[in-house]
Symmetry: C2
Subunit: 554 residues, 2 copies
Amino acid sequence: MKIALISMEVVPGRPDRNTKTICQKIREAKAAGAELAVCPAFCLSGRFLGRELSQPAFLRDCMDDAQDIARAAEGIAVLFGSIADEAERPVSDGRTLLSARDGALQEVARRPLHASSPFSPLIYALPEEDILIAVDAAPFPTPLRGAGLAALARKHRKTVVYVNALGLQDKGKTVYAFDGVCRVCRADGSVVLTTPPYEDGITVVDTAALTSCETPAKEPEVAPIYRTLRYGVRKFLERIHMERVVVGISGGIDSAVSAALYVDAIGADRVLLVNMPSRFNSATTKGLAAQLAERLGCRSMIVPIEESVAHTVAQLTEISVEGAAAAPGERLKISSFVRENMQARDRSGRVLATIAAAWGAGFTCNGNKAESTVGYATLYGDLAGFFAALADLWKYRVYDLARYLNASVYGREVIPQGIIDIMPSAELSDAQNVDEGKGDPIRYPYHDFLFRAFAEDSRLPEDILQAYAKNALEAYIGCAEGLVASYFPTAADFIADLEHWWGLYTGMAVAKRIQAPPILSVSGHAYGADHPESQIGAYETRAYRRLKEELLNA
Amino acid sequence: MKIALISMEVVPGRPDRNTKTICQKIREAKAAGAELAVCPAFCLSGRFLGRELSQPAFLRDCMDDAQDIARAAEGIAVLFGSIADEAERPVSDGRTLLSARDGALQEVARRPLHASSPFSPLIYALPEEDILIAVDAAPFPTPLRGAGLAALARKHRKTVVYVNALGLQDKGKTVYAFDGVCRVCRADGSVVLTTPPYEDGITVVDTAALTSCETPAKEPEVAPIYRTLRYGVRKFLERIHMERVVVGISGGIDSAVSAALYVDAIGADRVLLVNMPSRFNSATTKGLAAQLAERLGCRSMIVPIEESVAHTVAQLTEISVEGAAAAPGERLKISSFVRENMQARDRSGRVLATIAAAWGAGFTCNGNKAESTVGYATLYGDLAGFFAALADLWKYRVYDLARYLNASVYGREVIPQGIIDIMPSAELSDAQNVDEGKGDPIRYPYHDFLFRAFAEDSRLPEDILQAYAKNALEAYIGCAEGLVASYFPTAADFIADLEHWWGLYTGMAVAKRIQAPPILSVSGHAYGADHPESQIGAYETRAYRRLKEELLNA
């Protein structure tokens, strides 16, 4: 049987546009001699629809559009996914698979494979064929897909034809990329075809003549993540009708990776880099920022912020506080800590936001996931931006990306090695002088993994402390051996550090995440829609308190 | 039977603190001669717990704490709510009712009355008594409570004893107040006791001697909303350990109501008002802001922003844009529209955020729900702040509150009548000159109700257009008669306006809401947790397109 596998971009909430795409793909499939065209799950409606889901008018339009598709399926069978009516939704996540041919339309599958599993395509056994159709709408990453398809094929002893949705969909704060990969597995579980990710197109296979495919070339672990980022930022800009991007660059690693990513994704002529030094920024990082801008070949500006910040300090400390509640001659004092955050807000709220508006652009948020986890960022400052493309990546991944960008994407050192080698630092005060080897309070080689245990593996302080007490923490969280003892000479030091970051993670950082930009999900555990949280603060379990007391009294 | 009704503040995610409160209440109930103490639903665990819900360690602690409560229930029966284990959760929302006495503990109810209804307390019939116990954890507003309790009493021909949780809990972006009201209904449905909202305490009733209570005095419709706001801002500040508040005041209605609310809730000595005029602010509004500050008796400052904005304009237009992609001598241009938003960000990101940090305070977001609905606010500008207390109130409610604050809360004109009378205006350009009667593009007497139809009643443009075509729109959305014809001479005008605001509501405003501050829910339909949304943009249904064509061709 000749089957056309359809990789099509699904626009959520736009059945009218998706219907046009499906009808176009049907024509292409027929022209290629296919007897059956298989489109992905939710390809008519989209999957993440917010309140549209609850609108009967929307479902009604989807049904009308499905009829149009059925009429377009002249002389060819078409399978395509849509949204089911509301009554079924708690059971089946709303997905339904429709079969159309010559004007006739019928539902052929509704319940997904495993409603609660990340691998849950809709499955349909083609009548009188040894073929299972699996249509999916699964966002990146899809870790179970390979094994899941092979297991399905072997279990049923049938060929499995799998089609995933392509496109970008969001649940507000969290943005998901769908890779559009199609795959064919033989009954023995061997993969005979995999289409390239993030590419629109149709692929026709003859199930009577399946030949083994070549094993794909080994690629770095970060490669699929990079593809997702590149596709994600490009599509997100399209979605919000934004043509250009402004990136603040500090000479540090996060902003450098962000700049190189956007230049690769949308082109140098659509990116403007802005370096905004204060008196705390070293000649080293200013030089590195300039090198980066020059190597990327896009527009750039240098906008010093010293004068503006000084003006604000002078103005706000000169104006007296009046009113019945004020002391005579009352004035505000501005501490060095307050001055740190002022710089961050001056850069984003004053400079970047204005440049972006003037240039018809959005400005990016370059923060990583370690910073998001503990709120190591300034609200309306470096936490601002139209999109946080790197905010679901731990710091070590950002370094991986920097090396990958140089080695594989650009094939030259666009991100100067100095940026990769320098100590990470916010450079907001003399205490963060990079030339003296001072920097961020986060010790990434350990904290990246501690924070990952909190955020992605749901580990509580009691779990961490138990592993620490057994001298097994590094293996437990996956960081390098020997770090814990070298960072924390005593149990008291270890506990103070743990409680400090746990307190921020469950406290101030929650407040900051509420107002953070949308995040591109690449881990499957991004902050936002998949990480419900309340402003509760730290709670110490009974087991934690007992163990802590034991350790401190040992 | 003597029953103690417990109004207790529940701290979500803190079973240790709630256990202490419950044990203290048990002692008070015993001292008052009660045979049974009834605590609210979820009073041990809290109800909105984010990821804590998924932690077995948390459930384990709740069970251990429940045992402690059972031991404290010496010689008295105690009913209290907690969280059930995860397996039951899809069915029952996790709520469980436990009965404790003399060290023994048992579950007596689990499934709520109506899982899908806003009125869904856990119900338990006391053995050998004609009494139903109803324990609840229902946030404000609780519109069905009165009728629901009476119906329950009549249906079962039993006395109903109802206890609601007290306190503040949040689902991140959305913050809910629980009023702690206890109520007793006789078998005929008549109410014999209602405790005051938002008050901690215990009330002992003898069910053998229930006498009718006086009908409560009639109060303005806005009174319970104001109580919720006052309680909400006070408790939210407590929750985030913030003592002081900075409020930017423009001389307009929203900021005036915000200022008067905070002064009433936390005291004049903990509030600092800041007026930040630019050249577009009239003497009228500057004068009104000064009057407001003087009448509220708190601290105040006047911080002009003209110099800072001019510095930024000069700086960013002087610095040349460099790089391979730039034209020779390329410079940015700053339009008057860009300058409007610059002012808003200068006020919040530069002035208010710095003053707040210097004074150990948070600064408020004063926006209303009409602005939130269509994103009529500047990100990192007037949309910034630690908390948006008024963001679930339509503009007409803000006016109601202003009059209520003067008449009933302060008993004098703290909000100058001029602020209530003036045309609402952002005063960000000459086009918004209040002295010339120019102001916001939102025509609140109509748009408030149109936006409410979108946001709270899930009306689509096709519904609105249908009502318009039948000349029945004003009744349909609840605004004053005659407005539609006076604002929109032709169907084309009407449709252009509808599409403009619907486009913003489903487009740019979604992006802004993602980064907006947490909102205090007072409508039961606040943006945030109860209003899932995706960045999809406007979709025109088939029915809408047909009707529009008919109207435009008529």
